[in-house]
Protein backbone atom coordinates (compact mmCIF):
# COMPACT_ATOMS: atom_id res chain seq x y z
CA UNK A 1 0.00 0.00 0.00
CA UNK A 2 1.30 3.42 -0.84
CA UNK A 3 2.48 5.74 1.85
CA UNK A 4 0.12 8.59 0.93
CA UNK A 5 -2.89 6.34 1.44
CA UNK A 6 -1.60 5.36 4.88
CA UNK A 7 -1.11 9.01 5.77
CA UNK A 8 -4.67 9.81 4.67
CA UNK A 9 -6.07 6.92 6.70
CA UNK A 10 -4.18 7.90 9.83
CA UNK A 11 -5.18 11.57 9.56
CA UNK A 12 -8.79 10.45 9.22
CA UNK A 13 -8.34 8.23 12.30
CA UNK A 14 -6.97 11.10 14.39
CA UNK A 15 -9.76 13.41 13.18
CA UNK A 16 -12.38 10.85 14.19
CA UNK A 17 -10.79 10.52 17.63
CA UNK A 18 -10.90 14.30 18.05
CA UNK A 19 -14.57 14.32 17.10
CA UNK A 20 -15.34 11.64 19.69
CA UNK A 21 -13.55 13.62 22.35
CA UNK A 22 -14.92 17.05 21.58
CA UNK A 23 -18.53 16.57 20.64
CA UNK A 24 -21.13 17.11 23.33
CA UNK A 25 -23.94 14.94 22.06
CA UNK A 26 -23.45 11.37 23.29
CA UNK A 27 -25.40 9.76 20.46
CA UNK A 28 -23.19 11.31 17.78
CA UNK A 29 -20.08 10.31 19.69
CA UNK A 30 -21.18 6.67 19.85
CA UNK A 31 -21.86 6.55 16.11
CA UNK A 32 -18.46 8.11 15.52
CA UNK A 33 -16.92 5.37 17.67
CA UNK A 34 -18.39 2.86 15.24
CA UNK A 35 -16.76 4.72 12.33
CA UNK A 36 -13.47 4.73 14.23
CA UNK A 37 -13.71 0.97 14.66
CA UNK A 38 -14.16 0.39 10.94
CA UNK A 39 -11.24 2.66 10.07
CA UNK A 40 -9.06 0.82 12.56
CA UNK A 41 -10.10 -2.49 10.97
CA UNK A 42 -8.98 -1.10 7.59
CA UNK A 43 -5.63 -0.13 9.11
CA UNK A 44 -5.25 -3.63 10.52
CA UNK A 45 -6.00 -5.16 7.10
CA UNK A 46 -3.32 -2.99 5.50
CA UNK A 47 -0.86 -4.11 8.19
CA UNK A 48 -1.40 -7.71 6.97
CA UNK A 49 -3.47 -8.88 9.96
CA UNK A 50 -6.74 -10.38 8.61
CA UNK A 51 -7.79 -12.15 11.83
CA UNK A 52 -7.44 -9.00 13.87
CA UNK A 53 -9.24 -6.89 11.28
CA UNK A 54 -12.23 -9.26 11.25
CA UNK A 55 -12.45 -9.36 15.03
CA UNK A 56 -12.12 -5.59 15.40
CA UNK A 57 -14.77 -4.87 12.77
CA UNK A 58 -17.31 -7.27 14.25
CA UNK A 59 -16.80 -6.59 17.94
CA UNK A 60 -16.18 -2.87 18.10
CA UNK A 61 -18.55 -1.75 15.36
CA UNK A 62 -21.22 -4.31 16.15
CA UNK A 63 -21.53 -5.36 19.74
CA UNK A 64 -19.94 -2.41 21.57
CA UNK A 65 -21.94 0.17 19.62
CA UNK A 66 -25.18 -1.74 20.26
CA UNK A 67 -24.42 -1.94 23.98
CA UNK A 68 -23.57 1.76 24.16
CA UNK A 69 -26.86 2.65 22.45
CA UNK A 70 -28.89 0.44 24.76
CA UNK A 71 -27.22 1.87 27.87
CA UNK A 72 -27.59 5.43 26.60
CA UNK A 73 -31.28 5.03 25.89
CA UNK A 74 -31.71 3.57 29.39
CA UNK A 75 -30.38 6.74 30.95
CA UNK A 76 -32.46 9.24 29.07
CA UNK A 77 -35.94 7.94 29.64
CA UNK A 78 -37.98 9.62 32.37
CA UNK A 79 -37.21 8.19 35.75
CA UNK A 80 -39.57 5.44 36.75
CA UNK A 81 -38.53 4.27 40.15
CA UNK A 82 -41.84 2.83 41.23
CA UNK A 83 -41.33 -0.42 39.41
CA UNK A 84 -38.99 -2.22 41.72
CA UNK A 85 -41.54 -5.00 42.20
CA UNK A 86 -43.78 -5.94 39.32
CA UNK A 87 -45.98 -8.97 38.99
Amino acid sequence: MSLSFMIFLYVFLIATALVISAINDILSAVITLSVFGILLATAFAILQAPDVALTQAVINSGIVTALFLVAFSQTEKPECYSEEEEE
Binding site: L27, P50, D51, L54, T55, V58, I59, G62, I63, A66, L67, L69, V70, A71, S73, Q74, K77, C80, E83, E84, E86, E87
Partner: protein, 250 residues
Amino acid sequence: MSIRPFIFRIAALILCVSLGLMLFRGIAALPVPEKVIGPASHYLARTARETGARNVVGAILFDYRAFDTLGESTVIFTAVCGIAMLFSRRKFHRSSSGLSFIAKRGIGIMVPFLLMYASVIILFGHLSPGGGFQGGTIFATVTVLLCVVYGSSFESQYFPPRTKDILESGGALLFSGIGLIGLAAGTGFLSNIAAGFPAGTFGSFLSAGSVPILNVAVGMKVGAGLSTIFYSMIKMLDAGHDHTEGGIPG
Protein backbone atom coordinates in the same frame (compact mmCIF):
# COMPACT_ATOMS: atom_id res chain seq x y z
CA MET B 1 -14.34 30.02 40.63
CA SER B 2 -14.80 29.59 36.92
CA ILE B 3 -11.07 29.80 36.28
CA ARG B 4 -10.23 26.57 38.12
CA PRO B 5 -11.66 24.19 35.49
CA PHE B 6 -9.78 26.17 32.85
CA ILE B 7 -6.46 25.79 34.69
CA PHE B 8 -7.20 22.10 35.18
CA ARG B 9 -7.81 21.65 31.46
CA ILE B 10 -4.56 23.41 30.54
CA ALA B 11 -2.65 21.26 33.00
CA ALA B 12 -4.25 18.09 31.61
CA LEU B 13 -3.37 19.17 28.09
CA ILE B 14 0.26 19.80 29.01
CA LEU B 15 0.45 16.47 30.78
CA CYS B 16 -0.98 14.56 27.82
CA VAL B 17 1.27 16.27 25.27
CA SER B 18 4.43 15.67 27.31
CA LEU B 19 3.43 12.08 27.96
CA GLY B 20 2.89 11.57 24.24
CA LEU B 21 6.28 13.02 23.36
CA MET B 22 8.08 10.85 25.87
CA LEU B 23 6.23 7.73 24.75
CA PHE B 24 7.13 8.44 21.16
CA ARG B 25 10.79 8.92 21.97
CA GLY B 26 10.78 5.59 23.81
CA ILE B 27 9.00 3.65 21.09
CA ALA B 28 10.97 5.14 18.21
CA ALA B 29 14.15 3.73 19.73
CA LEU B 30 12.98 0.17 19.07
CA PRO B 31 14.62 -1.43 16.02
CA VAL B 32 12.54 -2.20 12.96
CA PRO B 33 12.85 -5.95 12.38
CA GLU B 34 13.96 -7.29 9.03
CA LYS B 35 12.92 -10.85 9.73
CA VAL B 36 11.05 -12.64 12.47
CA ILE B 37 13.14 -13.83 15.41
CA GLY B 38 12.37 -15.62 18.62
CA PRO B 39 9.42 -17.95 19.31
CA ALA B 40 7.48 -16.51 16.38
CA SER B 41 9.96 -17.95 13.89
CA HIS B 42 9.46 -21.38 15.48
CA TYR B 43 5.69 -21.00 15.14
CA LEU B 44 5.95 -19.91 11.51
CA ALA B 45 8.24 -22.75 10.54
CA ARG B 46 6.72 -25.64 12.44
CA THR B 47 2.95 -25.04 12.56
CA ALA B 48 2.13 -27.03 9.44
CA ARG B 49 4.01 -30.05 10.72
CA GLU B 50 3.19 -29.96 14.41
CA THR B 51 -0.48 -29.04 14.28
CA GLY B 52 -1.66 -29.52 10.70
CA ALA B 53 -3.44 -26.16 10.69
CA ARG B 54 -3.01 -23.53 8.00
CA ASN B 55 -3.97 -20.52 10.08
CA VAL B 56 -0.93 -19.82 12.23
CA VAL B 57 -2.75 -17.37 14.52
CA GLY B 58 -5.51 -19.93 15.11
CA ALA B 59 -2.93 -22.58 15.87
CA ILE B 60 -1.22 -20.29 18.37
CA LEU B 61 -4.51 -19.47 20.08
CA PHE B 62 -5.86 -23.00 20.22
CA ASP B 63 -2.85 -25.27 20.32
CA TYR B 64 0.35 -23.67 21.52
CA ARG B 65 -1.30 -21.16 23.89
CA ALA B 66 -4.67 -22.82 24.42
CA PHE B 67 -4.47 -22.27 28.16
CA ASP B 68 -4.51 -18.49 27.66
CA THR B 69 -7.66 -18.86 25.56
CA LEU B 70 -9.25 -20.78 28.41
CA GLY B 71 -8.44 -17.88 30.72
CA GLU B 72 -9.92 -15.40 28.29
CA SER B 73 -13.13 -17.42 28.04
CA THR B 74 -13.29 -17.24 31.82
CA VAL B 75 -13.03 -13.45 31.64
CA ILE B 76 -16.02 -13.32 29.29
CA PHE B 77 -17.92 -15.68 31.56
CA THR B 78 -17.21 -13.46 34.57
CA ALA B 79 -18.41 -10.35 32.74
CA VAL B 80 -21.64 -12.12 31.71
CA CYS B 81 -22.21 -13.29 35.28
CA GLY B 82 -21.64 -9.80 36.63
CA ILE B 83 -24.00 -8.13 34.21
CA ALA B 84 -26.73 -10.74 34.60
CA MET B 85 -26.44 -10.36 38.36
CA LEU B 86 -26.71 -6.56 38.16
CA PHE B 87 -29.89 -6.74 36.13
CA SER B 88 -31.44 -9.75 37.79
CA ARG B 89 -34.28 -8.00 39.57
CA ARG B 90 -36.44 -7.91 36.51
CA LYS B 91 -37.94 -11.25 35.79
CA PHE B 92 -40.61 -10.17 33.37
CA HIS B 93 -40.63 -8.85 29.84
CA ARG B 94 -43.38 -6.95 28.17
CA SER B 95 -43.95 -7.32 24.48
CA SER B 96 -43.01 -4.70 21.98
CA SER B 97 -44.15 -4.55 18.43
CA GLY B 98 -40.84 -4.31 16.61
CA LEU B 99 -40.30 -2.54 13.32
CA SER B 100 -42.54 -2.38 10.27
CA PHE B 101 -43.71 -5.27 8.15
CA ILE B 102 -41.20 -4.67 5.37
CA ALA B 103 -38.28 -4.78 7.79
CA LYS B 104 -39.57 -7.97 9.37
CA ARG B 105 -39.96 -9.81 6.09
CA GLY B 106 -36.62 -8.62 4.76
CA ILE B 107 -34.68 -9.57 7.86
CA GLY B 108 -36.53 -12.88 7.98
CA ILE B 109 -35.09 -13.76 4.59
CA MET B 110 -31.58 -12.63 5.53
CA VAL B 111 -31.18 -14.34 8.90
CA PRO B 112 -30.47 -17.90 7.63
CA PHE B 113 -27.63 -16.58 5.45
CA LEU B 114 -26.18 -14.67 8.38
CA LEU B 115 -26.26 -17.81 10.51
CA MET B 116 -24.57 -19.77 7.73
CA TYR B 117 -21.87 -17.08 7.44
CA ALA B 118 -21.21 -17.28 11.18
CA SER B 119 -20.99 -21.09 11.04
CA VAL B 120 -18.53 -21.00 8.14
CA ILE B 121 -16.28 -18.58 9.97
CA ILE B 122 -16.24 -20.83 13.04
CA LEU B 123 -15.79 -24.14 11.25
CA PHE B 124 -13.08 -23.03 8.83
CA GLY B 125 -11.09 -21.25 11.50
CA HIS B 126 -8.08 -23.48 11.07
CA LEU B 127 -7.85 -22.94 7.31
CA SER B 128 -8.57 -19.24 6.77
CA PRO B 129 -8.77 -16.11 8.91
CA GLY B 130 -11.52 -16.47 11.45
CA GLY B 131 -12.17 -18.78 14.32
CA GLY B 132 -14.32 -19.11 17.37
CA PHE B 133 -14.30 -15.50 18.57
CA GLN B 134 -15.29 -13.92 15.29
CA GLY B 135 -18.03 -16.43 14.49
CA GLY B 136 -19.44 -16.36 18.01
CA THR B 137 -19.71 -12.59 17.90
CA ILE B 138 -21.58 -12.78 14.60
CA PHE B 139 -24.05 -15.17 16.22
CA ALA B 140 -24.57 -12.63 18.98
CA THR B 141 -25.07 -9.92 16.37
CA VAL B 142 -27.84 -12.00 14.78
CA THR B 143 -29.68 -12.16 18.09
CA VAL B 144 -29.23 -8.39 18.52
CA LEU B 145 -30.78 -7.93 15.07
CA LEU B 146 -33.73 -10.13 16.01
CA CYS B 147 -34.24 -8.12 19.20
CA VAL B 148 -34.28 -4.85 17.31
CA VAL B 149 -36.49 -5.91 14.43
CA TYR B 150 -38.95 -8.25 16.08
CA GLY B 151 -38.99 -7.17 19.71
CA SER B 152 -37.30 -8.77 22.66
CA SER B 153 -40.19 -11.03 23.59
CA PHE B 154 -39.99 -12.72 20.17
CA GLU B 155 -36.28 -13.22 20.58
CA SER B 156 -36.64 -14.65 24.07
CA GLN B 157 -39.24 -17.05 22.76
CA TYR B 158 -36.97 -18.48 20.09
CA PHE B 159 -33.70 -18.32 22.02
CA PRO B 160 -34.81 -18.60 25.63
CA PRO B 161 -32.30 -17.54 28.30
CA ARG B 162 -32.08 -21.12 29.58
CA THR B 163 -30.83 -22.27 26.17
CA LYS B 164 -28.17 -19.56 26.19
CA ASP B 165 -27.07 -20.60 29.68
CA ILE B 166 -26.78 -24.22 28.60
CA LEU B 167 -24.85 -23.26 25.45
CA GLU B 168 -22.40 -21.11 27.37
CA SER B 169 -21.75 -23.69 30.06
CA GLY B 170 -21.57 -26.40 27.40
CA GLY B 171 -18.86 -24.49 25.58
CA ALA B 172 -16.80 -24.14 28.74
CA LEU B 173 -17.23 -27.82 29.62
CA LEU B 174 -16.30 -28.88 26.09
CA PHE B 175 -13.11 -26.84 26.24
CA SER B 176 -12.11 -28.31 29.59
CA GLY B 177 -13.09 -31.80 28.46
CA ILE B 178 -10.78 -31.62 25.46
CA GLY B 179 -8.02 -30.56 27.80
CA LEU B 180 -8.70 -33.44 30.16
CA ILE B 181 -8.49 -35.90 27.26
CA GLY B 182 -4.96 -34.71 26.72
CA LEU B 183 -4.28 -35.15 30.42
CA ALA B 184 -5.69 -38.69 30.39
CA ALA B 185 -3.48 -39.63 27.45
CA GLY B 186 -0.43 -38.69 29.49
CA THR B 187 0.86 -35.80 27.37
CA GLY B 188 -0.35 -32.75 29.25
CA PHE B 189 -3.40 -30.52 29.51
CA LEU B 190 -4.77 -29.26 26.16
CA SER B 191 -2.24 -31.06 23.99
CA ASN B 192 -3.27 -31.62 20.41
CA ILE B 193 -1.50 -34.10 18.14
CA ALA B 194 0.47 -35.75 20.92
CA ALA B 195 -2.74 -36.75 22.70
CA GLY B 196 -3.99 -38.71 19.75
CA PHE B 197 -6.23 -36.26 17.87
CA PRO B 198 -5.93 -37.03 14.15
CA ALA B 199 -3.88 -34.52 12.22
CA GLY B 200 -5.49 -35.30 8.87
CA THR B 201 -4.26 -34.10 5.50
CA PHE B 202 -2.89 -30.58 5.40
CA GLY B 203 -5.39 -28.07 4.06
CA SER B 204 -8.52 -30.20 4.17
CA PHE B 205 -11.53 -29.56 6.35
CA LEU B 206 -10.95 -32.49 8.71
CA SER B 207 -7.47 -31.64 9.90
CA ALA B 208 -5.56 -29.99 12.74
CA GLY B 209 -6.68 -32.31 15.48
CA SER B 210 -8.65 -30.62 18.21
CA VAL B 211 -8.45 -27.06 16.84
CA PRO B 212 -11.89 -27.15 15.09
CA ILE B 213 -13.53 -28.60 18.22
CA LEU B 214 -12.01 -25.87 20.38
CA ASN B 215 -13.17 -23.29 17.84
CA VAL B 216 -16.74 -24.57 18.14
CA ALA B 217 -16.55 -24.54 21.95
CA VAL B 218 -15.28 -20.96 22.07
CA GLY B 219 -17.83 -19.89 19.46
CA MET B 220 -20.69 -21.28 21.55
CA LYS B 221 -19.37 -19.60 24.65
CA VAL B 222 -18.73 -16.17 23.19
CA GLY B 223 -21.96 -16.10 21.19
CA ALA B 224 -24.17 -17.13 24.08
CA GLY B 225 -22.34 -14.82 26.49
CA LEU B 226 -22.59 -11.67 24.39
CA SER B 227 -26.20 -12.42 23.56
CA THR B 228 -27.00 -12.79 27.26
CA ILE B 229 -25.31 -9.46 27.98
CA PHE B 230 -27.40 -7.68 25.36
CA TYR B 231 -30.63 -9.34 26.43
CA SER B 232 -30.05 -8.47 30.10
CA MET B 233 -29.66 -4.82 29.24
CA ILE B 234 -32.54 -4.57 26.78
CA LYS B 235 -35.29 -6.45 28.50
CA MET B 236 -36.08 -3.59 30.82
CA LEU B 237 -36.06 -1.07 28.01
CA ASP B 238 -39.08 -2.63 26.38
CA ALA B 239 -40.98 -2.44 29.63
CA GLY B 240 -41.33 1.33 29.48
CA HIS B 241 -41.32 2.02 25.79
CA ASP B 242 -44.35 0.34 24.38
CA HIS B 243 -45.12 3.25 22.14
CA THR B 244 -41.78 3.35 20.34
CA GLU B 245 -40.54 0.77 17.94
CA GLY B 246 -38.20 -2.02 18.78
CA GLY B 247 -35.69 -2.03 21.55
CA ILE B 248 -33.50 0.89 20.56
CA PRO B 249 -35.26 4.18 19.86
CA GLY B 250 -34.18 6.38 16.98
